[in-house]
Symmetry: C2
Subunit: 157 residues, 2 copies
């Protein structure tokens, strides 16, 4: 893979970044962008993860979702352990080019390493609260696969 | 507003964080969570922004979206300049509790400070590319309001 300057334009003034038609991503201090993955068919938000330049380029060239794991500090092809890969149907970049949206076809039913379809399976109730920390409410939390069968003792991938 | 320990439980083991029913958010080194906002009616991803503990608590208690601006380093109620506020219909937290999803009713047509409905108005083409940086394709990029009228010379809010 050649240098990133083959892929990305240098960051210009904000009008250029926002209204221009050249990819000029803004990686944070750790070299990462945030990426939100949605189900291309239903629009459901499946997960949120991070991409470094290499993950972004691999996702673009292969059409499969690659991320960078902040906890494991390594590049990671979604589904490389679980088989639950993500085929990217469309990729979008946001106005200031520090966030990526991918609309994906999720293989193997679930995107979440806990066994759910989506990582967002708990609601935070709004409004005044009672004593103590906020209690979450499980929603759409049915498990679509058994994470112990899929991952064994390994961490999510 | 009292201390955050009134609102959030201390972080426990990952099984607790993932399968428990208590809000125990994981703020990053800058004290931030990532938040994705979708249109509650259509599911469209509108924008991605950040919340510190105060923004999260204000969003929960008021039912309106509050964010923390990394560039301006300040708490920010979405729409405080533009009037384009976001009424939160539902809030979700993800498996490891470092990301928030809010499904919102977007006031004033557009969430994006450039005048579009969504911040994700440009597609990144997938597959092999030609010479030079990747060219973006505008999609759903129609302006629903005139940012100069709404913001004048001020930055997005």
């Amino acid at each position: 893979m050649s240098g990133n300057s083959d892929w990305f334009a240098p960051r210009g003034a904000s009008a250029e970044v926002e209204e221009g038609s050249v990819l000029s991503p803004k990686f944070d201090a750790d070299g990462l962008l945030t990426c939100v993955a949605t189900d291309a068919a239903t629009g459901e938000v499946l997960m949120l993860a991070h991409m470094n330049a290499e993950a972004l380029i691999k996702t673009i060239t292969t059409g499969e979702a690659w991320y960078f794991s902040r906890s494991r500090k390594m590049l990671w092809r979604k589904g490389e352990t679980s088989g639950h890969s993500q085929r990217v149907v469309e990729m979008r970049v946001d106005c200031d080019q520090d966030a990526i949206l991918i609309k994906v076809e999720q293989m193997g039913e679930g995107a979440c390493h806990t066994g759910r379809r989506s990582c967002f399976y708990r609601a935070v109730p709004l409004g005044p609260k009672g004593r103590g920390p906020i209690a979450l409410e499980f929603r759409d939390a049915e498990k679509v696969f058994d994470p112990r069968e899929v991952y064994g003792d390994r961490k999510k991938r």
